[in-house]
């Protein structure tokens, strides 16, 4: 099994690297289609053309695109993320800080939503077609279709402004301890819980219903195992395999796709960093941000594959 897993990993990771390289080319090329240039983005539409040209020359953004790309990628592969065009500061600390923030928010949302939705889905499956099943399924589905900008504002108004229970800013004051930071992240996590709960719960429910109907469950029950052992050892282990894949694919979104939530809750995550960089045509920042998110998507997918392999008895063990 060890060698098989190693082979799988090596294959997946090399494909991933190729994907990321293609992504970096696409971002650079795609960015050239946007109107304007870096100097114009910094100085604004009303700046004198001579100033814009002078600034582009200073920044090195008046060079041919392939030259700019080569300059960037040749440094990037050595671990030098370069200097932001807009901020005139090194890119790496921005990415590090934003990534750390995004991981914190994703972590809090993850810790809330995964147990909650799996429990909800399994509970609904075990009481399939009862009223509680309907409540969980329908409310889960309804919550998923509410866009983040709607639910975020509703949460802010209810819990931040009217009840005044939770802070409306996701950023804790400087020097705050871990508990205070988590406290600031509860409100921003709620729209994410809304989006993901219905999705994950439905997967968990479907898997559990299927597992409960299976022959092996019937066998387990008939051979006299306790209900608890049947559920935990036989049902859940099989039922949650697809759920794990779903959860893993959502990790990328949770880390890199929260532009709206980050902006509404004033949180310096990687999503808003990418948005700002795209607006300013700040390529070193944009590339580093997108590749970071891309790497997380890729790693999450590879991780899910590995986990799936480890957990799935059919994909384990030597040859077939």
């Amino acid at each position: 099994m060890g060698r098989q897993l190693a082979n799988l990993l090596a294959k997946r990771l090399s494909i991933s690297l190729l994907t990321l390289l293609l992504l970096s080319v696409l971002v650079f090329a795609g960015g050239q289609l946007l109107p304007g240039n870096v100097g114009r983005a910094i100085l604004g539409p009303l700046a004198d053309a001579a100033s814009v040209a002078a600034l582009n020359h200073k920044l090195g953004t008046d060079l041919p695109v392939p030259v700019m790309y080569w300059r960037w990628i040749s440094h990037f592969v050595t671990g030098d993320f370069g200097t932001s065009y807009s901020f005139q500061l090194p890119v790496a600390p921005f990415i590090g800080h934003a990534l750390f923030n995004s991981l914190k928010l994703a972590g809090v949302a993850f810790v809330i939503v995964v147990p909650l939705s799996i429990f909800g889905g399994v509970y609904a499956a075990m009481h399939a077609r009862s009223w509680i099943d309907k409540v969980i399924s329908i409310s889960g589905l309804s919550m998923t279709v509410i866009p983040e900008f709607v639910s975020s504002i509703a949460f802010i108004l209810i819990f931040g402004v009217w009840l005044n229970w939770l802070p409306v800013s996701a950023t804790a004051p400087a020097g705050a301890g871990p508990l205070v930071q988590v406290y600031h992240l509860i409100l921003p996590s709620m729209p994410l819980v809304f989006i993901l709960f219905g999705y994950i719960a439905r997967m968990a429910r479907a898997g559990t219903v299927e597992a409960l109907d299976s022959d092996y469950t019937r066998t387990a029950v008939l051979k006299g195992l306790t209900w608890r052992v049947v559920i935990f050892r036989h049902v859940l282990r099989n039922a949650l395999l697809p759920t794990i894949t779903v959860v893993a694919t959502q990790l990328g979104y949770l880390v890199g796709g929260l532009v709206v939530v980050e902006s509404l809750f004033r949180y310096q995550g990687i999503g808003s960093l990418i948005l700002t960089a795209a607006r300013g045509k700040d390529f070193p920042m944009l590339e580093a941000g997108i590749l970071t998110v891309g790497a997380i998507y890729v790693l999450a997918t590879v991780g899910a594959d590995v986990l799936y392999t480890v957990l799935n008895p059919r994909l384990r063990g030597g040859g077939r």
Binding site: P45, A47, D48, A54, F94, L157, G160, V161, V168, L264
Partner: protein
């Protein structure tokens, strides 16, 4: 005149141009406000003018010291570099620790800051500034004329990538900035300019004075200026905090701490104010902030401004080649209703020229254009278009502009002009910002946003002169060009106003651009905040602020 001695004394101190302003006041040609504003341009001191009108002009500073003031500002789009900053997030940071030669107050009156006095020669081509003594930079260096020459000359230099170049172009060349002695600087202008002091005031937000030889790119590490605050922390993308500068030359700052936090959009700033996490919002637009404007728990700071939208019509493309069609278009707009609908009345009516009611030189006797559909239909018929016509209006997705575009579309339909709307992102609209590469400059009809200026000079030149670089209407009129040249050169308010009247009348007749409204600058504070001063440039002065 309540005290003969006061004006006799004023006469003795004043130079010729300044005496002329005093004459204007005594003759009743200008009122008290006119004296204050125009006198300030020519460097009449507050003490002299206060004596003339019989009221001391002093700043009250009442609040309690020691507060922490939390301000929501717009996220700066780039580096905090005095030469390149071009956005309201960046400019408010420059102005926290940096100071200008002159401050342009919210009422458009110029107030000495690092310059103690200024005056022009007779034709307005050479302006002499006296620089304040005993001023220390945060880094410890003493302020001299060299610092002023360095700071201003590089902004006028085409090789520096300067955002302020468009303001200085044709007015001041870097070689025209000359040190006379350690505390005197002369500006030798390319052409006479009666409003030059505005260009070195806080109006030109890049023009903070920094130590000679300092690197603009490194400014964001030190924030080395002469202001009432000094930098505590700055985190790009997040915010900055400031503490009082113990060596400040003026009254010491009241707050113990100020926190300027960056917000990517207005909505989150509004929610943070409502949630009690900030005390002040730098700027709010009526769209999206209705909740604050109606909220008794929030104080709104409301300032008249020259911020506006220009609706250009290409004078070289049919059907707008005929000025009667342009006039007809302008006559369809119900301006009072537009101001009420889009701004809840917090705007002045525009009269199809850049002369906003807020400018002292505006000739208010020129009749306001009002909606007149019958007259508009008549003009269309006279232009041979009684059967109607079709045009495309291109504009940007920004604040109320798309709504304004729809109002114009509906209004034009009443006289048979079918307007097709093309609404795009600001980036796409401005494009390369040069003729042939920009929807802004090339479109048949369009709406463009213009920020506040303390004097109308830029509005009169770039979008309307034959040689203008932002002339979307492609308007070319030699009479207009020469009127603007004489307006700009004039150092005399009554002459400026007479010329303004002629320009206003000419533009009403030609109507290359519809100026529908000039909207107020709005900022918001929590009710327990006092002493915050803002101006329509979006600068926020916190030295006198207190909370609680």
């Amino acid at each position: 005149m309540n005290d003969k001695f006061q004006w006799l004394r004023a006469r003795q101190i004043a130079n010729e141009t300044q005496n002329h302003v005093i004459d204007e006041y005594l003759a009743g040609h200008i009122g008290r406000r006119g004296l204050l504003r125009h006198g300030s341009v020519f460097g009449l001191s507050a003490a002299v003018m206060g004596g003339l009108i019989g009221a001391p002009l002093r700043e009250a500073r009442a609040g309690t010291p020691g507060s922490t003031v939390r301000v929501a500002i717009v996220t700066p789009t780039g580096a905090i570099n005095p030469v390149t900053v071009a956005d309201i997030g960046g400019l408010v940071l420059l102005q926290q620790t940096g100071e200008f030669l002159i401050i342009d107050d919210p009422d458009l009156m110029l107030k000495p800051c690092l310059a103690t006095s200024w005056s022009a020669n007779k034709d307005g081509t050479v302006w002499t500034f006296k620089i304040r003594q005993g001023v220390k930079f945060i880094s410890g260096k003493m302020l001299t004329a060299d610092d002023v020459v360095y700071s201003i000359a590089r902004l006028a230099d085409p090789k520096q990538g300067s955002n302020a170049l468009s303001a200085f172009k044709g007015v001041l060349d870097p070689t025209g900035v000359k040190k006379v002695d350690d505390h005197t600087v002369e500006f030798h202008l390319d052409a006479p300019n009666g409003n030059f002091p505005y260009l070195v005031s806080s109006d030109n937000y890049n023009a903070i004075i920094v130590p000679a030889g300092s690197d603009a790119g490194a400014y964001q590490k030190t924030f080395d200026g002469t202001g009432p605050f000094k930098l505590d922390t700055f985190t790009a993308g997040q915010g900055a905090t400031f503490v009082p500068n113990p060596d400040y030359w003026g009254p010491k700052a009241l707050p113990a701490h100020t926190q300027l936090t960056f917000f990517a959009d207005q909505q989150s700033a509004v929610l943070a104010l409502q949630g009690g996490q900030v005390d002040v919002i730098q700027q709010i637009a009526v769209q999206g902030a209705q909740g604050l404007i109606n909220n008794p728990q929030v104080s709104i700071i409301n300032i008249k401004a020259s911020t506006h939208r220009q609706v250009h019509m290409r004078t070289d493309v049919a059907p707008f080649t005929d000025k009667r069609v342009r006039q007809a278009m302008a006559l369809t707009l119900d301006r009072p209703a537009i101001v009420k609908g889009l701004f809840r009345g917090l705007a002045d009516l525009g009269n199809d020229s850049p002369f906003a009611p807020v400018f002292p030189s505006t000739d208010k006797s020129v009749p306001q254009r009002a909606m007149d559909i019958d007259k508009a239909k008549g003009l269309m018929a006279a232009a041979g278009l009684s059967g109607g016509t079709e045009v495309t209006l291109t504009t940007e997705q920004l604040q109320e502009i798309p709504d304004y575009a729809v109002l114009i579309q509906n209004a034009a339909a009443q006289i048979g002009i079918k307007i097709n709307l093309k609404i795009e992102t600001s980036d796409a609209y401005y494009g390369q910002a040069t003729y042939g590469n920009s929807d802004w400059l090339d479109s048949q009809m369009g709406i463009t946003d213009y920020g506040h200026r303390g004097v109308p000079n830029v509005f009169l030149s770039a979008p309307l002169l034959s040689t203008g670089t932002w002339n979307s209407a492609h308007f070319k009129n030699p009479d207009y060009d020469s009127l603007v040249a004489s307006y700009t050169a004039s150092t005399d308010l009554s002459v400026q106003r007479a010329t303004a009247g002629k320009i206003q009348t000419l533009l009403l007749d030609e109507t290359p651009i519809i100026f529908g409204y000039f909207y107020n600058y709005l900022a918001a504070t929590a009710p327990n905040v006092t002493g915050v001063k803002v101006n329509a440039i979006s600068q926020v002065f916190l030295a006198g602020a207190s909370v609680g």
